[in-house]
Symmetry: C2
Subunit: 451 residues, 2 copies
């Protein structure tokens, strides 16, 4: 396993630029903004929802569609205490909290720089004893609140795979080594949120549990570490902004023999995108013991019965989307294009599979004689690619807008189109323009988009 | 607007057959089954998750990708009381509940056959006065429970579109008539759940809010009623198992001038898949009044300022998936095929876009000389289509299994393949078999799958 050397430095100014772009162009809005926003919760706007879908779909494609040893699952968010008792979350998924006796503010003990002085009111020695605060959201199902009606919002999607292990084994005709993959929302009542969509109470995960014969777990752990690191590079994050960091002994969970994080060089420094853990037989054994059901595998070829070990690559979809935006953000000086003068253009150099729109169709002007063929071209492309359509403002400004959305290609319909049946295809990165017959357009774009 | 006559009769036996198939083949598992199941909550298994994804993706494709007057959104599930106060949910989203004073069982008043006798303990006149029970799940964000920390799990996705109306208007360059679409989970603490995945506390919605000039709302309401009814037919539900039912005056919400339901003939009778409502300016006006923000539109062409009216097609993804399964389920007697004798085969005649797997690759036997080319064919198809791969059991039984999953095509690699470089393509519905060169396979299948 290799670690990339930290040759690149984080850029703190980049953070504000990307957050600003996200709001201005409709990637991300603060949730309930007209009511003053809501507790580090975010909504994904018209282009943000496409970006996030593309991140999740790219993961699903790599992890499920292109493999025959991984199947999918979509388990419920609401889940009973029995699951979280077996998993250990009810007891151990906690943060240590202290209260300031003077100002009554509450803090996470391990996030205090100085455990003697309250950072809010500056009182000294004012903290209570730390108490363990569980991070799971609790609610009640059915008409009566109280014991017996308790439900938890899952803090991770992983347990859904473990409790369904036998169901999947019996219905899917897979046998170890095989995996179960899931994309979905999880909820953690974090005391300290922040860094935009990096750490939020509601977030989306992409997790896969890979069940293997015990003797093969180290091999598969190495395999998934390499595979997952490559995934980010393959989808456009420069290799020198990524690293694989193995956990030290004292960072490891008691049941994990090895864990590595895929880290991205965020503007605030290296931080986690994904964890790959060798979890051993901890999870299946816990659920077998608590449920009384057998969660093992009988290998007919060898006559062996064993509890599979689990290698788990667990990624955050929302923070991965953020890393793609940060890595793609670029500013470059351009001489002159369309209506624009010499200027700095902002461009998101997103991988085509990740870019919200693949193509924007732009009639050169709003005149009806251009609108009709432009809408025809749009209708031709829409079944194949997610498209934007924009007919307002000067063409140069519309190119800039699409650059900021990361749209790989703009297709311009102009007055020549009425004569030659061709359109201008403009490349986002090089700004080069090609004249392409409308009838060849889909097949011209498809390979260039890698689709 | 036309109503299909109820010429077909519901089939109660069909329900059990489909529920059984769902469990046996990995469509749907009871949630937390190893712990005895959990309160009408369900997990979607390896084929169920594909089915559900296909339903949602087909909706997204029709509503967002193939149009340029609708954009997407993905708003948070956790939401503050202010939203639900403005929407009216805090006050009005309630069911009337009564308790039996004798056995202490709790009931929904409007679901009791006889309001005088407890259906549980048969006591007469034992009910308390009805009280209003709010159906929203409540939890607490941050380290302190209690007032000020209250959060609700959204009971519908719609409000996310209304509170983001201005954000979307300002960033997306759309103007009325235009829509905002969202797919996502919602939660309702239903007292009475049931009919498998039809009514569950956690469910998935596909909602679109279409904002129009007030004078155009009746026209767009008619448009969306017709459009949405067609969508189900286009994706494989027979027209005579669907109807559009206009609400009577006394069924309408006070703010709605017209509402129609798309209903499917479920085994228990006609029931709702989707509601299309003309909501007027109720939602934007409520949020404008409660937030103090302007939620209107200024039309530069006419110089008019108005609050757009909303036409809302709101569908249930999970119950739509169930309707697709019910409509697709078929049993037919077949003479003889592969290893099978004369028998009844079960087949899901799903639309190719909805079918979990598009293609199954099946080596005729497990011999290594067939496995290698079969895996090559699989690798060739996987980038284009979601594929299954199965090399165990007799070929006839594997065909039957794929029929039960609704897989439109099986591709069989046999010993002739080693000589002629061709495979047998078997059609799910006709069971006809074609010999197709491997190099032509993708282009042979693509149009037949309508992709």
């Amino acid at each position: 396993m290799s670690e990339a050397p930290a040759t690149v430095a984080p850029d703190p100014a980049l953070f504000d630029k990307v957050v600003n772009l996200c709001k201005r162009r409709g990637f991300v809005f603060p949730s309930a903004e007209i009511y003053g926003g809501f507790r580090s919760t975010y909504d994904y706007g018209p282009v943000g929802v496409l970006l996030l879908r593309n991140v999740k779909d790219a993961w699903w494609r790599s992890m499920v569609q292109l493999r025959h040893d991984v199947v999918g699952l979509d388990a419920a968010i609401l889940s009973p205490p029995a699951i979280w008792e077996a998993s250990g979350h009810l007891k151990n998924f906690t943060d240590p909290l202290v209260d300031c006796r003077v100002c009554r503010e509450r803090f996470r003990l391990d996030h205090l720089d100085d455990a003697e002085v309250c950072p809010n009111c500056k009182s000294e020695h004012s903290f209570t004893e730390a108490r363990q605060f569980n991070l799971m959201f609790r609610t009640y199902a059915g008409p009566v609140e109280g014991a017996g009606a308790e439900v938890y919002l899952r803090p991770e999607t992983a347990q859904g795979m473990f409790v369904n292990f036998r169901n999947v084994l019996e219905t899917s005709r897979r046998r170890p080594p095989f995996g179960i993959a899931q994309v979905g929302k999880s909820f953690r009542n974090e005391i300290t949120t922040g860094n935009f969509v990096f750490r939020t109470r509601e977030f989306e995960q992409m997790e896969m549990e890979f069940f293997v014969p015990p003797v093969e777990s180290a091999k598969w752990y190495e395999y998934w570490c390499a595979e997952r690191l490559s995934w980010y590079v393959d989808h456009g994050i420069p290799a020198d902004e990524l690293r694989l960091r193995a956990h030290d002994e004292d960072e490891l969970s008691h049941y994990s023999s090895a864990t590595s994080d895929v880290e991205y060089l965020f503007p605030w420094g290296w931080d986690e995108l994904e964890g790959i853990a060798n979890r051993g037989d901890f999870d299946l054994t816990q659920h077998a013991n608590h449920s009384g059901e057998k969660l093992d595998y009988f290998d007919q070829a060898t006559g062996e019965r064993y509890v599979p070990h689990v290698v788990e690559p667990a990624a955050g979809a929302t923070r991965t989307a953020m890393a793609f935006l940060l890595a793609a953000y670029d500013e470059e000086e351009v001489a002159r294009e369309g209506q624009g003068k010499g200027e700095v253009r902002t461009v998101l150099r997103l991988h085509p599979r990740i870019a919200p729109y693949k193509v924007a169709v732009l009639p050169l002007s709003k005149k009806p004689e251009l609108q009709a063929p432009a809408l025809e071209v749009l209708g031709l492309l829409q079944p194949h690619f997610m498209c934007d359509y924009d007919e307002t403002q000067a063409i140069g400004r519309r190119y800039r807008r699409q650059d900021e959305l990361g749209t790989p290609f703009c297709v311009t319909v102009d007055f020549d189109t009425l004569d030659d049946g061709a359109v201008t295809v403009r490349d986002r990165d090089s700004m080069a323009q090609d004249r392409v017959p409308i009838e060849d357009l889909v097949e011209h774009l498809r390979p260039r988009l890698g689709l």
